[in-house]
């Protein structure tokens, strides 16, 4: 099968001596860096660390659920494990995953800037993330927390005897890291585009991050306020959520989901940005319906703010409120459908190759389609009653978050690995990893849809014996999935030393990031580029290549 990879002659090629990795040496040069690329690497290392912690917790959950009884651990321990799995995966992995690593690394380069608008705030956001992560670990080690990542009141305020305050404050702190990242992206995209880089020449990766940034900046403060109220309720008993003091526990639900639903889009939108870049590059074609895809990101961000109460259909909110929120939920499903079809039609009359990033992107499309469509089952109020709070919803959001976002993250990491490190990952084994991940994922999470249909509630340490067969399937799948995640960890590290020299543009891609050396210089561009070509302009790229050939030859 043919490939588009074009590498420089390996016998003579060298990784450029001067680049952002070698520019300065020593630990301090990393810890005090303002370089967006180095901060991206710092983030990449830290989120990978937390991903494997969250993943290990997931493994423990699946092991416990292998048998109907709660026999591996006490029910309390199980509750703490799934709470920590949720907190770590959502706040310390998924939310920063693509934006803080790939977004941080690429957005300035993609728009032709030397750095983000506020490099020091960017570094501060990483330190806040680390502080939040350390506090979460401290909460876990000193006894854990058992409220579920949703911190439902009055469970979290009055009934739990675990480290709710530490964990709440950890998320509060980590939330600010997210706010600062979003703020930085918004200002950078508005103010620092290179000459000629108009809004409609921005890669869709940038559009998706811009939309996600708006959500981060407007949504996260609400979560922060809510968690502070929970902490104040626990410490001094202010009673905002306490019915015996005239408070309302439902208010907590409203506030929590006002952030936590848009947070889903914070997590998925950057992943969608990755998919647009990857599909375009490996079909040698501009993204079909660029404007529609760009605006669908914005539409998701806008509608995403007005659907939060679909988490509360069975909680005794007014039937008429349910009508409104169910309708708006249907509206937010449409932009996702638009994206899927546009990606599919990007392939039409393309010239397609199947390198690893593309395989992950195909995986994303399949799994995200299932995740999105099952979301409609839950947004439809009549069927939500039966399906909510069961394994159906667990399967649904894992299809979107793990099947969607994690696939997109791995796709992006492979795609930009040569740019970030100057070296290629090994192709064959990574294709295998992509396939193993896809198969393992489906084995793990598809049975959970059936469990949910049958009514098995989520967050159960023990369950009726009739559900065991499907749970065994799920646990078996999780072990395959674990292998799928360990493989990249190993061969990517291997490739740092032994990977083939990538050269500036191994994929023959059109983005500005591919027109500079790999790994880039600290200042990205020696001279600020003037953008004359269109976005995804493969004809321009061909002309550039011919130009080079005629001049050199």
């Amino acid at each position: 099968m043919s490939t588009i990879v074009s590498l420089p002659d390996q016998s003579t090629a060298r990784v450029p001596k001067r680049n952002y990795l070698t520019n300065e040496n020593g630990l301090l040069s990393w810890l005090l860096t303002g370089d967006h690329k180095r901060i991206a690497i710092l983030y990449l290392i830290s989120i990978t660390f937390f991903f494997f912690i969250g993943g290990a917790l997931a493994g423990v959950i699946r092991l416990e659920l292998l048998t109907p009884q709660s026999d591996l651990m006490a029910a309390d321990t199980y509750n703490k494990v799934f709470t920590m799995h949720g907190v770590v995966m959502i706040f310390l992995f998924l939310v920063p995953s693509v934006p803080a690593t790939l977004g941080n690394f690429l957005i300035p380069i993609m728009i032709g800037a030397k750095d983000l608008a506020f490099p020091k705030i960017n570094l501060l956001s990483w330190y806040l993330y680390l502080a939040g992560g350390a506090m979460t670990l401290a909460a876990m080690i000193t006894g854990g927390v058992d409220t579920g990542w949703t911190f439902t009141t009055p469970m979290s305020t009055h009934f739990s005897n675990t480290n709710v305050i530490t964990t709440g404050l950890a998320i509060f702190v980590a939330g600010f890291s997210s706010i600062f990242t979003g703020l930085n992206f918004i200002v950078t995209v508005h103010r620092m585009r290179a000459p000629g880089m108009t809004w409609f020449k921005l890669p869709l990766f940038v559009w998706a991050h811009y939309a996600a940034s708006i959500l981060m900046v407007l949504g996260t403060p609400v979560l922060a306020i809510t968690l502070v109220l929970v902490v104040l309720e626990r410490t001094i008993g202010i009673g905002v959520f306490d019915p015996t003091k005239g408070g309302d526990p439902i208010l907590f639900q409203h506030l929590f989901w006002f952030y936590s639903h848009p947070a889903v889009y914070i997590m998925i939108l950057p992943g969608m940005g990755v998919i647009s870049e990857v599909i375009s590059t490996f079909s040698r074609k501009r993204v079909f319906g660029y404007t529609a895809v760009a605006f669908s990101s914005v539409a998701i961000a806008v509608f995403g703010f007005f659907v939060w109460a679909h988490h509360m259909f069975i909680m005794g909110v007014s039937n008429y409120a349910v009508l409104v929120f169910s309708l708006l939920t249907m509206l937010v499903a449409v932009p996702s459908a638009i994206k899927i079809f546009n990606w599919a039609f990007t392939l039409y009359k393309g010239s397609i190759t199947f390198e690893t990033p593309m395989l992950y992107a195909f995986g994303f499309m399949g799994l995200f389609t299932i995740g999105g469509l099952t979301g409609v089952f839950l947004g439809t109020s009549g069927t939500d009653i039966h399906l909510t709070e069961t394994y159906f919803i667990v399967a649904h959001f894992h299809f979107v978050m793990v099947g969607g976002m994690l696939m997109a993250f791995l796709s992006g990491i492979h795609f930009w690995w040569p740019k970030m490190t100057g070296r290629m990952y090994p192709e064959k084994i990574s294709q295998l990893a992509a396939v193993v991940t896809f198969i393992g994922f489906n084995f793990t999470f598809f049975p959970q849809f059936l469990l949910g249909m049958l009514g098995m509630p989520r967050r159960y340490a023990a369950y009726p014996a009739e559900f065991q067969v499907l749970n065994v399937f799920s646990t078996a799948g999780a072990s395959i999935l674990g292998v799928g995640y360990l493989l990249p960890m190993i061969y990517l590290v291997w490739s740092l030393k032994y990977g083939a020299i990538a050269g500036a543009n191994p994929w023959q891609a059109t983005g500005l990031e591919w027109q500079i050396q790999s790994p880039p210089l600290t200042e990205n561009f020696t001279t600020i580029p003037v953008v004359t070509q269109d976005v995804y302009d493969y004809e321009w790229l061909e002309r550039q290549k011919e130009h080079e050939v005629t001049h050199v030859g």
Binding site: M1, S2, T3, N79, D146, T152, M155, F159, P249, S283, R284, R286, F288, G289, Y290, F313, I314, M315, G316, N319, V322, L327, M330, A333, V334, A337, I338, F341, A344, L347, K349, G350, S351, I352, T353, F362, G366, T369, I370, T374, V376, F377, G379, T380, S381, G382, T383, I385, H386, T388, E389, T390, L450, M453, L454, G455, P457, R459, A462, P464
Partner: protein, 360 residues
């Protein structure tokens, strides 16, 4: 669904046998399943469509076959197509689902009401005839049953998969759900809202009985005191009757026929007197003063358990005249003064004392 009932029966049997759906044991279940089947079919068509497009394009336009891509801007017609068709389908699901939602959460007026109190980690059901159950619920087929749920601690959720209904039990407010069972049998009851250590132990049985067996069960499980009778005793022991006695000069408004009526509060705003209002008026009287009365009622917060409140609400609901109130007044006057809290009266001793006074 325009599907023949025979075919539907066959389909449901198949889905239950292959453990894709739980058994259908309520009237609403087959209606919910019809929508679930519709949505599954639409989803499959969508998924297959995307899968076919991606697969076909990947084969037709792979680099070996098509070395040079043709650049295409997009197509407004196609964009409109895949905006409008999914939107249309989603709107059909929205309307269909909303109709079901309103059905599931709008009890018919003739429904039999059973109260359910959730607490860490058990379900307590209070039948109007005074039958109490823990972690089980006995109901007859062919009769609409309304559940009025409340939690006395954290959020719980009362889920009966075989009925396709579920409702959150929330501290401090009543929620309702209703269903009509169709098939006798024993079905799962789950708490689906995470509620702490023994969340997965907060399960039980929904026992659906034929009307004859149900009557037998009612007779064998009766405690001898109906909810309203228990409420009457509480009404007397808490000295509610001292003010709410229906006499012209009484300090509290008459409660006869108050349930279901519209009151004007001291603040001037009108309210509908329902279960939730009665409960709130007992716990937080100062915010629920009827126009024309002085704010002298003390709060009963912490003095009456949720079960006690249920008994009081049931009593007031069934109060059509003040005759019984005045009778209780006479009996309390005969008795020596009752202390506010009656210790030891909640362990089920067959005494004249009312159950539901909060334990100290």
């Amino acid at each position: 669904m325009g599907l023949s009932p025979v075919l539907w029966q066959f389909l449901v049997k198949w889905m239950v046998n292959f453990a894709i759906i739980p058994p259908e044991a309520s009237k609403i279940a087959s209606q919910v399943d019809a929508l679930l089947v519709f949505m599954t079919l639409v989803s499959l068509v969508g998924l297959v469509l995307v899968g076919l497009l991606v697969t076909a394009f990947s084969i037709l336009y792979r680099r070996d076959r098509n070395p040079v891509a043709t650049q295409i801007e997009g197509s407004t017609l196609l964009e409109a197509t895949w905006t409008i068709i999914p939107l249309g389908l989603f709107l059909v699901m929205f309307v269909w689902g909303s109709v079901l939602y309103f059905r599931i959460y709008t009890p018919p007026p003739n429904a039999m009401n059973i109260y359910v109190v959730g607490k860490q980690w058990m379900w307590k059901a209070e039948h109007p005839g005074g039958q109490h159950e823990i972690n089980s619920l006995h109901i007859p087929i062919g009769k609409p049953i309304q559940l009025t749920l409340i939690s006395q601690d954290v959020f719980h959720s009362f889920s009966i998969p075989a009925f396709r209904v579920k409702r959150e039990a929330i501290p401090g407010r009543y929620t309702t759900v209703w269903f009509e069972a169709t098939t006798p049998g024993t079905y799962h009851l789950f708490c689906t809202q995470y509620c702490g250590t023994q969340h997965s132990g907060m399960i039980g049985d929904i026992v659906v009985l034929t009307p004859e067996n149900y009557k037998k069960w009612l007779d064998s499980s009766t405690s001898g005191v109906s909810l309203a009778q228990n409420g009457e005793r509480l009404f007397a022991s808490l000295s509610c009757n001292a003010c709410h006695n229906g006499q012209p000069d009484s300090r509290g408004p008459s409660l006869a026929n108050v349930y279901g009526s519209r009151l004007t509060l001291a603040s001037g705003s009108p309210v509908l007197v329902d279960e939730a209002y009665l409960r709130q008026a007992i716990l937080n009287p100062s915010a629920h003063i009827t126009q024309g009365y002085a704010p002298i009622m003390p709060t009963y917060q912490g003095q009456v358990s949720e079960e006690g409140l249920i008994s009081l609400v049931e009593y007031i609901k069934n109060l059509s005249s003040n005759y019984r109130v005045q009778q209780t007044l006479n009996t309390t006057e005969l008795l020596p003064e009752q202390p506010d809290k009656v210790p030891g009266k909640t362990n089920g001793a067959p005494s004249a004392g009312a159950q539901g006074v909060a334990k100290p």
